[in-house]
């Protein structure tokens, strides 16, 4: 089973040179740390920046420069700043190549639920609904099962939906899976030491397995 860092590492391997990428809060943010040095990407922050750099040194901290998680950041050379309307314009028009975000549940159709748990305080969807409705390529970082052992890869989401038929790939602590219309979750890779049987048991939605499933390389 992968820990959070390993999930981030595995997702970093999906990143291609020249991509514009939006990273959600949590594990997705960690992905930036594992992108190989020879691959140059531009990270978008939906509050109005292309070109997120590393966290600032103590002396560089600037209250006017934060990411969507409200963390202090720096800017890379070649950055640009813009309004929230411009930012979501580029998201809606498909200019962002890859969106990586977390999820509470994903359905075999690619529906995603990640913003609201009935009975718990609702904090709001932020930019998640805009991102999932428009992104060309969405990779989800998530735990395969809840702490109680219930699968989060479902036939249908039980939680309120964030977006329909939008997730393309999942990297969970157990596996890498693609969502193929009609087939459901197609198993691509197993986490080191995890068996296909374990993944089958942990997946409530339709699981499609073809041939030998390799162990993932981290």
């Amino acid at each position: 089973m992968l820990d959070k860092t390993q999930i981030a590492k595995r997702i970093a391997r999906e990143v291609k040179d020249g991509m514009y990428i939006n990273l959600g809060i949590g594990i997705p943010t960690l992905v930036a740390n594992y992108i190989p040095k020879n691959i140059n990407v531009v990270l978008q922050s939906e509050n109005g920046l292309l070109g997120i750099g590393p966290f600032p040194l103590e002396a560089e901290v600037d209250a006017d420069l934060i990411n969507a998680g409200k963390q202090t950041i720096t800017m890379m050379p070649g950055s640009s700043l813009f309004s929230s309307a411009e930012s979501f314009g580029m998201i809606r028009s498909g200019k962002v190549d890859l969106t990586i975000l977390g999820a509470m549940e994903v359905s075999e159709e690619g529906d995603i639920a990640n913003w609201k748990v009935p009975g718990k305080m609702v904090k709001g969807m932020g930019g998640a609904m805009d991102l999932v409705a428009s992104a060309k390529n969405i990779i989800v970082a998530m735990q395969h099962c809840s702490k109680e052992g219930a699968s989060k890869l479902l036939t249908c989401c039980t939680l309120p939906i964030t977006g329909l038929r939008c997730v393309k790939r999942i990297v969970s602590d157990l596996a890498v899976l693609d969502i193929i219309p009609g087939r459901g979750f197609q198993l691509l890779e197993r986490a080191p030491g995890v068996t296909v049987e374990q993944i089958k048991n942990a997946t409530e939605g339709k699981l499609f397995i073809q041939g030998e499933i390799p162990e993932m390389v981290l």
Partner: protein
């Protein structure tokens, strides 16, 4: 020239009536109109509807206006990190309308651009779509959303001139430019108010036509929510 410059925040907000609809710029605590918020706390108008991406934190930003019970309704995309907010929401004292962030930004932009309604894919199939018209364009489903406008827009810029032209700084721009455009009366507070002719016309973010009142703010705290630091420069 009609004088847009007012002395301070107290003068700028003094005619905001009870039950007004306000827009307040900022993302988290970044780029919020700190001086105007302080003046509203002092002048005590109540029953306000506040359109702002977030609702501040317990002891800063719009959070302070919640504490004084001046806010009847919040229209936001994300309202976490605020215990008083949660208490008022659960007790029914506060109404909340949650809107996807991009839809919120575009609805405000539409208000300022004279576009009464538009179509967006965000929220299709979710509870956000309830009661909204949907339509298919090129095989994809979209929701119809309406413009948002405000009686008063309160924005914060870095520099401004006496003609009302504004320049924002860093990610403190966020919702401020659209809100400046969508207010019936727009009040701008700036860190530095400069004479007309000082700012480069090619670098203005908000043209002065949108700004009705402007003043140089004081004592900016610019509080940071998540102070994240690198140990070494990468």
């Amino acid at each position: 020239m009609v004088n847009k410059v007012v002395k301070n925040a107290d003068e700028a907000v003094k005619d905001i009536p009870h039950r007004a609809t306000l827009m307040l710029g900022g993302f988290g605590l970044c780029g919020i109109p700190e001086n105007c918020i302080s003046a509203i706390l002092k002048s005590g108008m109540t029953g306000l509807t506040c359109i702002s991406n977030n609702a501040g934190v317990d002891d800063f930003g719009i959070g302070l206006m919640l504490k004084t019970r001046q806010v009847k309704k919040m229209i936001s995309s994300y309202v976490g990190e605020n215990a008083e907010f949660e208490r008022q929401l659960l007790s029914g004292e506060l109404e909340v309308e949650l809107i996807p962030q991009g839809t919120l930004a575009e609805r405000i932009r539409a208000g300022g651009a004279g576009i009464p309604a538009f179509f967006t894919p965000a929220g299709v199939g979710t509870e956000v779509a309830k009661g909204k018209e949907t339509r298919e364009f090129n095989g994809k489903i979209y929701l119809m959303e309406h413009w948002l406008r405000a009686d008063f827009s309160l924005v914060k810029a870095w520099k401004g001139d006496t003609a009302g032209n504004l320049i924002y700084r860093g990610t403190a721009r966020n919702f401020n430019p659209m809100m400046a455009e969508a207010g019936t009366i727009t009040i701008a507070e700036v860190e530095e108010l400069v004479p007309i002719g000082t700012l480069d016309p090619n670098s203005i973010h908000t043209p002065g036509i949108y700004v009705h009142r402007i003043f140089q703010g004081v004592n900016y705290e610019k509080r940071i929510e998540q102070r994240t630091i690198s140990n070494l420069k990468i």
